[in-house]
Amino acid sequence: MGLSTLYLSVIVLIPVAALISVALGSGLHAFWTSFTSSLALKALWQTLALSAVVAVIGSVMGTIVAWVLVRDQFPGKRILNSIIDLPFALPTIVASLALLGLYGTSSPVGINLSLTRTIVAIALLFVTLPFAVRSVQPVLLEVDKDVEEAAASLGASNATTFRRIVLPALRPAILSGTALSFARCMGEYGSIVLLATKIPIASLVIFADVESATGSGNSAYQPAAGLSVALLVIALVVLFGLRKWGADRGR
């Protein structure tokens, strides 16, 4: 117990406390303006909306991919299974470069999505794929197929079986994967830095705040810290809501 508390403190609690102290270090009014300026509000809204859309699409597609990986048999299945973890291993800036080359102005496939929210969404879907798939996959492996077979033998269609037997069993895992994807999207920087040059995403605005800080010392970074704390709070509220919804609907 003590060890895990110590570990959590050093890795998470103390850095977050330091962030909060910089955010509040120039007074409450400065803290308020750091996330209520018009650009900050625009950025928070854009990021929230984009993260929510990507988390939902990602979890639907991730569930389908997990289903295929667990239930289907096809050649190359093991290779495909290993590729799912690729976005974790790849430095995010490389993902940005790859997408810029593939779907940008010199696209070899003729698709030009440069500077659109679509290409940013694609980048976010790429980096959150492992969350969406890996959170559902182990649960799907454990699900007792007897119940499904019983339902089928009683005349339930595939869709009904999926909807009333499989999905409720997967719900906590799907929600967990959605929460992780959402959180990752809220803070993502490396994979979108080359793509979102004309879209006010919160992480990019925070980077701009850091880079335009005049002077040295912690107070120079108060605007960046303030916006970061606001982003963190929004993410935590949504995550808490998701977990609560998952807990309420289970049983």
């Binding site: 117990m1 003590g2 330091a18 880079e211």
Partner: protein, 361 residues
């Protein structure tokens, strides 16, 4: 059953409470002390070590991103001079603002060469550079450049000057001024040139609004990212340092350089860190960089020499433009406050309308 759970639960709650208190105490102590921790290593840029064994001293040169190759050549030349014998260099080149912040936070440095004076001023405020750093014969400037327009070979959109940039259908690439010093030089070059043509400040600002909101297609984080974006096919015209353009052309990039009638004189500063353990050697090095021999090397590397006598020798490399300085526009401190400081800076407001992730407050 409940009694058996009380002790471990109490311990857990106490441990958590102590951890939170400890976190707040550390944050309160650590938050107020300004950067006295020593960090070493470069801030994500590239660099290297030059010089042989048995060196008298190793000078740490921290520079902005683009002059790396030029400094490699020039530092080798210095080591061959009698004054520079035995001096080795450890260099680090990355974005000017990031480098300045890193040195202020404790990155070891003996000589700093940044792209704008405010990055040196930050170190004056941090007590690392003498407040009279700009009092020398060249006012602290080691070399000059200017803002030029880079276009596709053959100049298909017929760009000849600043007014062509706001024509409908012309796509401009310039970095994000919130994160890039190069971007600020570009914007002030445009603004100052409009003033030179007789426009009023509000008309010049309207020009910037059109340029950034309507004609600029992308604003990457840095000058080098912008060059990459342009070379990979984005936009019709890129605004960049003349020195970068010359280097890119010599490296074989398929570009053409267009010189507008007037542009800003980019003056890149250099300064000695007064706490350096090799102060005398650092000062001697900076002094040598301003001698005709070194200035000639700068000219050969594509940077305009600050010494007029040397600049004359390079009149074929560096065309004559109507060049104005940032001082004629009020100096960087005033310009930064009026144009580039969130939330009320005029360019910040324009960038926000353009949808660019700029500084927010």
């Amino acid at each position: 059953m409940n009694k058996r759970l009380d002790r471990p639960r109490l311990r857990a709650v106490t441990a958590l409470g102590l951890a939170i208190v400890a976190a707040l105490v550390v944050a309160a102590c650590g938050g107020s002390s300004d950067a006295t921790t020593k960090t070493s290593g470069s801030s994500g840029g590239s660099g290297g070590t030059q010089g042989g064994s048995g060196s008298k001293a190793t000078l740490n040169l921290v520079g902005y991103s683009t002059p790396e190759k030029a400094y490699d050549v020039i530092n080798k030349a210095y080591a061959a001079t009698p004054g520079g014998k035995g001096i080795a260099f450890k260099t680090s080149f990355a974005a000017s603002g990031a480098q300045s912040r890193a040195v202020a936070a404790g990155q070891p440095a003996d000589v700093v060469a940044f792209s704008t004076a405010p990055d040196i001023t930050r170190l004056v405020q941090a007590g690392l550079v003498a407040s009279n750093w700009a009092d020398g014969p060249t006012k602290g400037i080691v070399n000059d450049s200017t803002v030029v327009m880079i276009v596709r070979p053959g100049n298909p959109k017929h760009i000849t000057g600043w007014d062509d940039l706001i024509k409908p259908g012309v796509k401009v690439v310039t970095p994000n001024p919130a994160t890039s010093g190069s971007a600020r030089w570009n914007i002030m070059a445009a603004y100052g040139s409009e003033l030179k043509e007789g426009k009023s400040p509000s008309q010049a600002l309207a020009y910037l609004a059109t340029l950034l909101e309507k004609n600029t297609v992308t604003q990457p984080d840095s000058g080098s990212d912008a060059l990459q974006a342009f070379v990979s096919g984005q936009g019709d015209v890129l605004l960049d340092y003349e020195s970068d353009a010359i280097a890119a052309k010599r490296a074989g990039d398929k570009i053409q350089i267009v010189y507008p009638k007037s542009s800003i004189l980019i003056q890149t500063p250099i300064a000695v860190i007064k706490k350096s353990s090799h102060l005398a050697q650092a000062q001697a090095y900076v002094k040598w960089l301003l001698t005709p021999a070194a200035q000639k090397l700068w000219g050969q590397q594509g940077y305009r020499p600050v010494l007029p006598s040397v600049a004359k020798q390079f009149s074929s490399t560096f065309p004559n433009l109507d060049l104005f300085t940032i001082d004629s526009l009020g100096g960087w401190t005033k310009v930064d406050t009026d144009f580039f400081t969130a939330p009320n800076g005029s360019v910040i407001k324009i960038e926000e309308k353009a949808g660019v992730p700029t500084a927010s407050s």
